[in-house]
Point group: C2
Chain length 202, copies 2
């Protein structure tokens, strides 16, 4: 059984939704009633490969990553922090088993809701589809940016592309995880960071 958010306060998910597109009070109340807080300790795993994911979560505090295992190697596929929605994209959207682990890389406070809750809102409140369309435009755009990073082959191009878009994560996420996201060794990443932090010779 999930607990609810304290009576008289909005669920962080309700606030998140109404910032993207205004929705009726009835929708806010439905989200308040059907969403729930979820806490994770650093290192805790939310979803494993093969599982069907039927929830999505808003990160209220903390950071989370997804990773795959290929042979003996971990490949980080995305890193998310506050004010981002996380789920197994394949599980939630394509209704196929997850191919990734989703793991807390800091202690996390999440706000969760089920697939059924979202479908109910899409079906009964058409303005939720405006919210969903706008949110998915952003997330589709971000997925494409991740795609571009992972297809670049030069370590330095990858790193620069990452810094431009995710600079705020740089001093927060362990170097090992950023390296695994950029598809390079920790040594290569450290070398690039050192080179870039040196002032150019005049």
């Amino acid at each position: 059984m999930h607990h609810n958010f304290p009576a008289g306060t909005n669920s962080p998910l309700a606030d998140f939704v109404s910032h993207i597109h205004p929705v009726k009070q009835e929708v806010i109340q439905y989200i308040n009633k059907h969403s729930f807080p979820h806490f994770m300790r650093r290192g805790e795993v939310l979803i494993r490969p093969g599982e069907y994911s039927s929830h999505l979560y808003l990160i209220c505090k903390g950071a989370v990553r997804a990773y795959m295992i290929e042979g003996s190697k971990e490949i980080t596929t995305w890193i998310c922090a506050e004010n981002e929605i996380i789920t197994s994209i394949r599980g939630f959207l394509l209704r196929e088993p997850a191919v990734e682990y989703i793991e807390a890389i800091e202690d996390c406070e999440l706000a969760g809701a089920s697939y059924d809750t979202l479908q109910y809102l899409y079906q009964h409140h058409i303005e939720m589809n405006v919210m969903g369309r706008k949110l998915l435009e952003q997330y589709y755009g971000a997925a494409e940016e991740r795609n571009i990073i992972s297809r670049l082959t030069r370590a330095e191009s990858k790193y620069n592309y990452f810094v431009e878009r995710n600079g705020h994560l740089l001093n927060r996420i362990p170097l090992k995880i950023i390296a695994s996201y950029l598809g390079m060794t920790t040594e290569t990443l450290s070398r690039i960071r050192k080179r870039i932090s040196k002032p150019p010779k005049s």
Copy 2:
């Protein structure tokens, strides 16, 4: 000036939209009036890096790829064929300049519409947002599948993942382009294909 589709016939884009989610006759008529046919010869380029893309296109016939250039290397980022919508995702969704070339890899018949046409429909016909939300769910899911392919590091895992999802493109798209999509040399791709096509020893 764009030409219109012949009077009395629906634009392929209008049919595409109503297959995803039913829309009013008024929407169909608006799409018929504001979409246009566009033809491309194999090798022709639709969008170049740095350009702002303000159109999207449905592929009615043919195949198209997007690619980036890094150093002297072409990196194919996606391949699309009939019944898929193409555009510069960054350009169209994020309103930022394209980072990729979009090129016809076969002679193509496209049906195009502008960003403004789509925004008009989203604003004046709320059910178009249901269509957009459903379409973006599919495309976001597909972007994530591309992400997974490009992050796998073993050539054979990449190839198998591609065949499972895009088997229909295998005998149609030049090997060189598939290899560049999978981030391997044409030689490696040929070797994997030969190995896999051999019946297992009994």
